[in-house]
């Protein structure tokens, strides 16, 4: 309630500033009700084509904060987290154990829909933005990605164990990454998030989501989609192998026969 009262007092200033930054929406608001902050993100392109020699890059996502409370903005109490989530796929996590001296896969857990990649950009360290409970509720952050075991009655401790292993393996491969401070405000209500796209970024539909927090509480969310496609010969080969397996195999055989034959002509003149 206290926070509410302060907002009323500052509403006028907010509206005045809105002329310069926010656009006309602030004027449309009722005088008594302070305009609610909303977040928008825009991707400059809907399709990102990566070449075969892609070795990782930064993806910049721009966004705007509508109707910000200038006082809170000045105090830096608005926080934004942007997530780029890769396509969802089933994943099996296996654990090796020693049996008669040999390291053998003995146990496994299948998770039904795991984002292949998960890149996060945030304004500051996660513990300074909001509390663990909010992250959990929003399924936000690498540690809070919801991992659902594929089986009907899964053992919770096993799900926990393999879920942890999955997050750690994904982080080590760079597919899951978090960047603190890589989301910055440019001007008063525009922001720029710089996300890491790893070299092995998966193709498919990625979902970008932005979460807005004010004074540690979640207030708005926006999302957009991005297609990542691979371009070049290698990508065509991959598609051919997966769509026309048989003809691809025949091609591979013909290539081998021709190579063997030419090799003989070139090298052996007997």
């Amino acid at each position: 309630m206290k926070r509410c009262a302060r907002k009323h007092a500052l509403a006028v200033i907010g509206m005045l500033l809105a002329v310069a930054v926010g656009g006309p929406s602030a004027f449309a608001q009722d005088q008594g009700e302070p305009p609610r902050e909303t977040i928008n993100i825009g991707l400059s392109t809907e399709v990102v084509a990566i070449t075969p020699d892609f070795s990782g890059a930064d993806l910049t996502i721009f966004g705007s904060l509508e109707n910000p409370d200038p006082q809170i903005l000045r105090q830096g109490r608005y926080d934004i987290i942007v997530v780029l989530e890769g396509p969802l796929r089933p994943v099996v996590v296996r654990r090796k154990d020693r049996i008669f001296g040999l390291w053998i896969n003995v146990d496994s857990e299948t998770f039904s829909s795991v984002p292949v990649s998960y890149s996060v950009a945030m304004t500051r360290a996660p513990q300074d933005i909001t509390d663990a409970k909010s992250y959990k509720q929003l399924s936000l952050g690498i540690d809070n990605i919801h991992l659902r075991p594929a089986g009907e009655n899964a053992d919770p401790s096993k799900t926990e164990e393999f879920g942890l292993a999955l997050r750690s393996l994904k982080q080590r491969s760079g597919l899951y990454n978090e960047r603190v401070g890589s989301l910055t405000f440019i001007g008063s209500n525009l922001f720029r998030a710089s996300l890491a796209l790893p070299a092995n970024v998966p193709v498919g539909t990625h979902r970008a989501r932005a979460f807005l927090f004010r004074n540690g509480s979640f207030i708005d969310e926006a999302s957009d989609q991005l297609m990542i496609v691979k371009s070049g010969t290698e990508a065509s080969i991959y598609r051919a192998a997966n769509t026309y397996g048989f003809f691809y195999g025949v091609f591979a055989v013909i290539l081998a026969v021709i190579t063997g034959w030419i090799g003989r002509i070139v090298f052996k003149r007997d």
Binding site: V93, L166, A252
Partner: protein, 320 residues
Amino acid sequence: MSRVGVVAIRRGIRVSIYLPIAELSVNMIILLAMGGAVGFLSGMFGVGGGFLITPLLIFYNIPPAVAVATGANQVIASSFSGALAHFKRGTVDIKLGMVLLAGGVAGSSVGVYVFALLRALGQLDLIVSLLYVVFLGTIGALMMWESIGALRKAGKGGSTTLKKPGQHNWVHRLPLKVRFRASKLFVSVIPVLGLGAFIGFLASIMGVGGGFIMVPAMIYLLKVPTNVVIGTSLFQIVFVAAFTTIVHASTNQTVDVVLAFLLMLGGVAGAQYGAKVGQRLRGEQLRALLAGLVLIVAIRLAVDLFVRPADVYSLAPGVL
């Protein structure tokens, strides 16, 4: 860890190439050299080289499933090259090759099915390594034993030719006998089909042509004359490997044609030089060298099975 290394190499020399199926960037020079080295050895020893390529690819971080299927593809090129030479010399028993091939196709079909099953169970890598350790270890040890004996004999001035196999064994008492003219052989089709099936099975699971098992089996088990053994073996390997490649490509999508092509290029070039060097070395020296090589690969693979992996956990695409 290795990923960082690969990135550094890429920026440095710009020789990296992206393998579409293995889904990783590799150094082109290393692969060409690998193909060349194995081609050199295969030319020198008259073997296909599949049994060396697949483990080398696994050591180079290529997923075993891709290494095996691509190995089968690579084997076609070197075997075809060799088979052509034998055709010219007329040292191929086509009829015998056809019967072996019929068995091989059946064995390979079963093998590809087992391969997919093991992959789904997460045990493919283990079984592939175990098969390599067992086969390479056994054959390497036998060859080493035999060639050391031959070398000793040669030192004493004795005969160095391989012991002439005896005329009859249990194989020759089986029914359904067929005459193979080129091999001057009158033998039951059962062991021929069986041998073909066994090699075909191994070809699809291990990504080998199987020459290293086929050749001794033909000599000692079927008593095929040595002059037609290699040509006939190569002839049927071309077809079994081709069949295996196509089946792997259609069921498992694990044939990496870019990887295979790089290995073939290095391989066909290396094989020519290897053959020249091979002609200058003596038979028992060659066999001892090959045995040593085979044993080293087997030991290296065995060690990997016993050493604690960097991470006991691993991820694989799930099937729902």
